[in-house]
């Protein structure tokens, strides 16, 4: 049986352009072949790829989101603006950009817990959290977060009481969601920078609480 990567959708405008008739080879080899082909044709600059990789390996990551959260914890005006107009509030920090143009921040409280997912693909606020972890992009999380959020949270070690309202946000458009976690108790003496160190990526997706484990809180 001829092997194709494409599912031959019936939508009239997409005839798979793929010419492969064999099982796809190792993606490392395919990537290498594509990069050298594109370089030869002047369609990509390998140094630009280096710069892109470096940006997400070293510069753009959850520390950005943590700064936003810590600022909101210490500055009630900033927090008010963040919840009203997150895009405008975050613009002042210079974090807007690719996969983070239009931000919505949702606040966790003792009564409300927010959880972010993208059931259809893997939308995620890159500009604030960097590239998403593998589990966020994989089928188990995408399938279950909307139908069984409490089961998912329990799997991440977060058992919520029945009195808590769980709000799931399925990122179907270009809005990107960031959870503003609750500030942990006993952190009144910490500076903004120290607070930022308590804020994890998972807390800003909504599958964990901020600083909870490190603080040894219940």
């Amino acid at each position: 049986m001829p092997y194709s990567l494409s599912n031959h959708p019936h939508h009239h405008d997409h005839q798979p352009a793929h010419g492969h008739s064999d099982v796809p080879s190792d993606p490392a080899l395919r990537t290498k072949a594509l990069e050298s082909l594109l370089t030869e044709k002047g369609l990509v600059d390998p140094a630009a790829i280096d710069a892109w990789v470096e940006a997400y390996e070293k510069k753009i990551g959850p520390r950005r989101g943590a700064q936003v959260v810590a600022r909101a914890w210490v500055d009630p005006n900033f927090k008010g603006r963040l919840l009203r107009d997150a895009t405008g509030a975050i613009e002042t920090l210079g974090f807007l950009g690719r996969e983070a143009q239009h931000i919505v921040v949702v606040e966790n409280t003792p009564a409300i817990h927010n959880l972010v997912v993208c059931t259809l693909c893997s939308c995620y606020p890159w500009g604030l959290l960097g590239l998403p972890p593998r589990w966020y992009k994989a089928a188990p999380y995408r399938a279950r977060a909307v139908i069984d959020p409490r089961g998912v949270l329990a799997e991440f070690g977060l058992a919520l009481g029945d009195e808590v309202e769980v709000r799931v946000w399925d990122s179907t458009a270009e809005l990107r969601y960031l959870v503003l976690p609750e500030r942990p108790g006993g952190t009144e003496h910490l500076s903004e920078a120290e607070l930022a160190a308590l804020v994890t990526r998972d807390a800003m997706i909504g599958v964990a609480k901020a600083g909870a484990l490190r603080e040894g809180r219940a």
Partner: protein
């Protein structure tokens, strides 16, 4: 909620059992051979019984059974009436009931109504009347599209039905099995029951084709 019922554990436990496939050869021929000899070793199967089942479905049970029912309904109006009102009893008259076809419903195609049978959830099929289902009947393309786009599916089988014809898709979700009674083609008045039976195809009894003379 129900997400935490025992069946959740079921799927977790099963996922563990399925890890074995990483250590087994991909070629099913090798795996099935190993399974058969293991089952034989343990007295859980008699290879001669496997032969007998294969022979049953290869040679003794197939669409010729369904075609007999259809041809009889075409030539015998009383039988046709019985078939449409109680297919199980009418098919029992011909001694053609059996496993995966003990409770039958016959669906009559007319110039105004076209019936089509599918099993979206697995591959339920009237085995005693049609034999083993063809691969396409059991595969994702047919199972996914027959209920959503039956007209497109029928066109793919070369059957372009006019807009005014009502299409009824029957999704076999229970142990009821459906047999389509196709329209008798014109110009077959001179044929006897046995000759008519030779015209009736498996696809016509699933509902993806018409019978032609």
């Amino acid at each position: 909620m129900s997400q935490h019922s025992h069946s959740h554990d079921d799927s977790v436990e099963m996922a563990r059992h399925h890890h074995i496939h990483a250590d087994l050869p991909p070629d099913p021929a090798l795996r099935v051979k190993a399974l058969e000899s293991l089952l034989t070793d343990k007295g859980l199967v008699d290879p001669a019984t496997i032969d007998a089942w294969v022979e049953t479905y290869e040679s003794r049970i197939g669409p010729r059974n369904g075609a007999k029912v259809v041809a009889k309904a075409w030539v015998d109006p009383d039988y046709k009436q019985r078939l449409l009102s109680d297919a199980t009893t009418a098919i029992a008259e011909l001694d053609l009931l059996g496993s995966q076809g003990q409770h039958m419903v016959a669906l009559e195609n007319t110039p105004g109504i076209h019936n089509l049978v599918v099993c979206t959830l697995c591959s339920c099929y009237p085995l005693p009347l049609l034999g083993l289902p063809p691969t396409w009947y059991k595969s994702a393309p047919y199972r996914s599209r027959a209920v959503l786009d039956p007209r497109g599916v029928l066109r793919e089988f070369g059957l372009d039905l006019p807009e005014h014809v009502k299409i009824r898709v029957w999704d076999s979700t229970a142990e009821v099995r459906y047999l389509v009674l196709p329209e008798r083609p014109a110009g077959t008045e001179h044929l006897n029951e046995a000759q008519l039976a030779t015209l009736v195809t498996r696809n016509a009894m699933i509902g993806v084709a018409k019978v032609t003379a």
